[in-house]
Amino acid sequence: MKITVDANGLSCPEPVLKLKKVIDGASEIELLVDSQTCVENCTRFAEKNGFAVTVAGGRGQFVMTLKKK
């Protein structure tokens, strides 16, 4: 089941902390963030936790798709 985490309007490390709460046991997560900085930080965190990350969107609206490898 896909989980959606809306981290729009939050600055680092809040999106990572939100992600951390749901990442255990998840297979697919859609993560919404609004800054490139958060994209980079969350990508690193997700990859470290065994997820493949794809990013769509840009300019203040990013949709990150995290899939368990």
Binding site: P13, E14, V16, L17, K20, T37, K48
Partner: protein, 343 residues
């Protein structure tokens, strides 16, 4: 009293909230240049405060700093914001004369909270030996506070940030990791003990360290704030020399390393890393330690460039008051990069 319930209460307060360094440099390069022989230090050298010569014996230092809170207690916020703003005067080698409050506060919130912020700030101005003599307040959803401070210095004794001599040792007077700890603490991820350590440092006036340091052969001084340890160290470099750092000598709040390993780092730290990527070389460091070196500090310590023969004596004198002082590196002949960090 607690500020957590205010409508807009940022997670990334303090100097973490600074605009990125690269952006500022681009914007400032586009505004008119001021050419006044009495302006001894302006913003062209990214120094801590501006210095304007009034007479041959007296120059005034102007500086201001304000930011959203990084703590929930308004009184503590006032103390930290004021300590941070006052610090630039010491980093320029001066003494505090007067200060004005800078206030942003929501008009529909409890005025007692604002009262606590201002009480904390005023106490620090008093401790610094200055006079609080006014201020300006704006209605704003998100509370912000700081000071505009005026100091004085003899024009011959200005402490620029990039006037080091090759061979100098660099001393840091407060432990790093404050940005990571305060941000993580707000999210319930850092311990009370680490948080206490962070706020203790943030409330400590750099006045005490500078008063000791000025008795030694010091050549440059700056304070560590939003651009992080490496960002401010980079500003200490000049075309004639580089600075080398031994990371194992740099003191930091221990838990910050564990938090950084879990990617609990601030947006400000990520921006600092990006800005510094071609200015700093990091050889063989663990990622969490790198994050600590990039971590934005609020009301951080001084970085002091001191004659090598005075370094140990100064460290010893400082350590009596600030036990977390450390010699972090030295000024070396110019290399192709500004700052070289090894484990």
């Amino acid at each position: 009293m607690d500020m957590r319930n205010l409508k807009k209460f940022t997670a990334c307060g303090g100097c973490v909230a600074k605009l990125p360094q690269g952006m500022l440099k681009d914007v400032l390069s586009q505004i008119p240049k001021f050419d006044d022989p009495n302006l001894l230090v302006g913003f062209d050298t990214s120094d801590d405060g501006a210095v304007y010569k009034l007479t041959d014996d007296i120059a005034i230092i102007n500086t201001l700093d304000f930011f959203p809170s990084m703590v929930n207690d308004p009184y503590l916020f006032g103390k930290i914001a004021a300590t941070n703003a006052l610090s630039d005067i010491y980093a320029m080698g001066g003494a505090v004369v007067s200060a004005l409050n800078i206030v942003c506060f929501p008009e529909d919130e409890d005025p007692a909270i604002l009262g606590e912020i201002l009480r904390g700030g005023a106490e620090k101005v008093l401790e610094a030996g200055g006079v609080l003599c006014g201020g300006h307040s704006i209605n704003d959803e998100e509370p912000k506070y700081g000071l505009s401070v005026t100091g004085v210095v003899h024009p011959d004794r200005i402490m620029r940030n990039n006037n080091c001599d090759i061979g100098d040792k660099i001393i840091l007077t407060k432990p790093l990791g404050v940005g990571i700890i305060t941000t993580a603490y707000k999210a319930g991820e850092a311990s009370q003990e680490s948080y206490e350590q962070a706020i203790k440092g943030m409330q400590r006036l750099n006045k005490y360290a500078f008063e000791i340091a000025k008795n030694y052969r010091i050549h440059s001084c700056t304070d560590v704030t939003g651009f992080g340890f490496l960002g401010h160290l980079n500003e200490m470099t000049a075309p004639g020399y580089s600075i080398s750092v031994e990371a194992s000598n740099v003191l930091y709040i221990k838990e910050a390393e564990k938090l950084a390993a879990e990617d609990i780092i601030t947006g400000g730290g990520i921006k600092n890393r990006k800005f510094l990527q071609d200015k700093v070389s990091l050889r063989g460091l663990s990622v969490p330690i790198e994050e600590i070196l990039f971590d934005p500090q609020t009301s951080g310590g001084l970085l002091i460039s001191v004659h090598p023969d005075d370094a140990n004596a100064l460290l010893e004198a400082l350590s009596g008051q600030d036990p977390k002082c450390c010699i972090v590196g030295e000024v070396i002949p110019r290399e192709d990069i500004n700052v070289i960090v090894t484990p």
